[in-house]
Symmetry: C2
Subunit: 409 residues, 2 copies
């Protein structure tokens, strides 16, 4: 049905991933929208602010009137009235006049600046202005934040508290976002038992299921656990068929036994419309990763070792889950920083290497200390702050060299 | 009831914050525990791995037997049998013997290393070993990850997918975590209308409610909106009394009118057992921040301007919400990196300054570009990647100087 050993580079796989169709949109209120991704550009349907506002407590004035004002020679202005908070001024200002105004108040017609309270003195219907203000000083103009009709946010960005703030300021309380993908999670291996069960000698607990469940949840997906399948071909096929029907993405994390990976490959190939995107990725850890496409759905065969499976999750599965939800560009990836390697980290050209690191600070900046433990140990997994990336064509990173580090969420 | 104008430093307020009592614990399964904080140290109740395991496909051997082996002079070992995945070997190895084993298989008694498949050749019941292995090579020993009885994780850490992985590996599927704090959110100001309503001229939309709602949600809290209260003292008192009864933390974001801040202060002081922790913080923006304690509960008076309110949320409210949930140490704060300032940023000694920045990358490392816009504008709020901190005793950061940047979630 398809050729085997189709090894791809990480960048090639990521390119394929962004070709998967996005999920349909849904409309959410602002209380539910946090962490989702905008499915459409957002246009301002009104000016923000809706009118010119004071940004300081003081007096609305015609700026030109105050030119030349100083402590010893204050400018005298007549107080025309006071502007009540939240109301339209009932008067306009002429030259020589001023109006009391508080932060946020609406400027009366004729005023183009606000003199701060501390530079004035009020007495019997007049004020003394002791410093000049420039036109537009201490004022935010109508539409200065956003003009009606302009793009406020492009599609594909993540909805953060600040984004929600801007949307509510513009009166946009309903947004279109991509739906959350459903993710099925399946562990394979005769040696596995459920973590909640008694552990017979010779067996080990299934670590991948809960790990990938939580990582999927953190990536905005709706995960479902399909339990453990023993290394029996037909049992795997039946489970895979069911799980891919019920989900948008299926994660099979390979039992460690030699044959299991081939079973995963065969299970994918037996599905109608199956297409193999890659069988093997030029990356360490995670080389045996498989990605297949079944219609609009994706099946990943992940490494059996949990730390490797989690790495592949962060660099490939998570971008797919976010892409399906509508995320674009940098929003698909873990946040990147730069850090100085605390020691030499050798690598082999021809593949990307990802090394778990702890971060610390020195006068020089951020320092990344690789966590060097046997690859099968899981204790190092939870200690890491991020992954240091060694590019494909590099023979390694020298101590003191700057490297890219992707921060774990 | 208490003295006014009790200006504190950020560090002093943070110290007070960690004196608030933590919320009671609750017990959660691993599916629900993501993003919560461990209320107790976690001890390993068994060894991980539970037995010595192969980390490569190959042959279990007695390492000493292979010493001196080379391509031209292989060592010959007798195949004693095969170790089925997930089962206890039915035999032990003597010197001169080997057993087929796959990654994850249990080492038979007598074996202390695994020779990788690629360095062997099998024929009629024997193998040729072409390279020596050292004792313990390609093996993870019983308890090498975690020994029974040792501390796996200390109380106060955040439960990430990797932490969940380690817990499930150890058969710990139920964890004690601190409960999520309930947060009431109240906006004050005669000029405010709900974002979903028609906007009369002179009024503006309430931006703070949804912003603080989402930020609370992101900080693990359970937020409730109490709407908008006009600048009428008695109305505020009634709402505050109700909201603090129903929540652990109350956020009142000040209307911009001059009197409102005093109302908030008075509202706090009228509550029984009220204590003022600070009235004013030496920080920019956010100087007028108020923090009061009412029994085990906290009331914040936040700035009216949303970008300032959100900053104070991240540097003070969020640490309190996380502390109440059981977070400790670095887990209380936004993630910190170091970045080079893209331009001079002046500051005034005697207060901490936080400047919104966009991050980019150069050969030198991470560059922080301050977003310089009028302080009343909200468009800059959603553009920021983080906050650059200018310490209290500094007169500013020079272009090219390294500074601390706190990353927005």
């Amino acid at each position: 049905m398809f050729t085997f050993f189709k090894v791809k580079k990480v960048a090639e796989v990521l390119e394929e991933i962004t070709k998967f169709p996005m999920l349909p949109e849904e409309s959410l209120g602002l209380k539910e929208a946090l962490g989702r991704y905008l499915a459409k550009d957002i246009l301002a349907k009104e000016d923000l602010p809706p009118f010119s506002r004071a940004t300081m407590d003081g007096y609305a004035v015609y700026a030109r009137d105050t030119f030349g004002a100083r402590e010893s020679e204050p400018v005298i202005l007549k107080i025309k009235g006071e502007i009540a908070m939240g109301e339209v001024p009932s008067f306009s200002l002429a030259s020589g006049e001023a109006a009391r105004i508080a932060t946020g108040g609406m400027l009366p017609e004729g005023a183009d600046a606000v003199v701060m309270l501390e530079y004035t003195e009020e007495e019997k219907g007049i004020i003394e202005v002791k410093r000049p203000v420039a036109p537009y000083e201490n004022v935010i103009f109508k539409g200065e934040d956003f003009e009606k009709g302009t793009i406020v946010f492009p599609a594909g960005i993540k909805i953060t508290p600040a984004v929600i703030g801007v949307l509510s300021g513009l009166g946009i309380t309903q947004v279109e976002v991509g739906q959350r993908p459903k993710v099925g999670i399946l562990s394979t291996g005769d040696e596995l038992v459920l973590p909640e069960k008694e552990l017979p000698l010779g067996k080990i607990r299934d670590i991948n299921s809960y790990t990938l469940y939580s990582a999927s949840l953190e990536s905005g997906a709706i995960p479902t656990l399909y339990g453990i399948v023993p290394d029996v071909k037909e049992k795997l096929f039946v489970k895979v068929e069911k799980a891919i029907q019920e989900n948008d993405v299926l994660l099979i994390s390979g039992g460690s036994s030699v044959g299991t990976r081939d079973f995963t490959l065969e299970a994918i190939s037996r599905l109608p419309e199956a297409e193999l995107i890659c069988h093997g990725v030029a990356v360490k850890p995670g080389k045996p990763t498989i990605l297949g496409q079944v219609g609009s759905k994706a099946i990943f065969g992940l490494p059996g070792q949990v730390a490797s499976a989690l790495l592949i999750f962060y660099i490939m599965v998570r971008p797919l889950l976010l892409h399906m939800q509508g995320a674009k560009g940098e929003h698909l990836f873990l946040r990147k920083i730069m850090a100085y390697a605390a020691r030499n980290i050798p690598s082999t050209p021809g593949r990307e290497d990802y090394v778990r690191v702890k971060l610390s600070f020195s006068e020089k900046g951020v320092i990344a200390l690789p966590i060097l433990k046997k690859s099968g140990l899981i204790s190092s997994m939870a200690e890491a702050h991020g992954f240091l990336r060694i590019p494909e064509n590099s023979e390694g990173i020298y101590e003191g060299e700057l490297a890219e580090v992707f921060l774990l969420p």
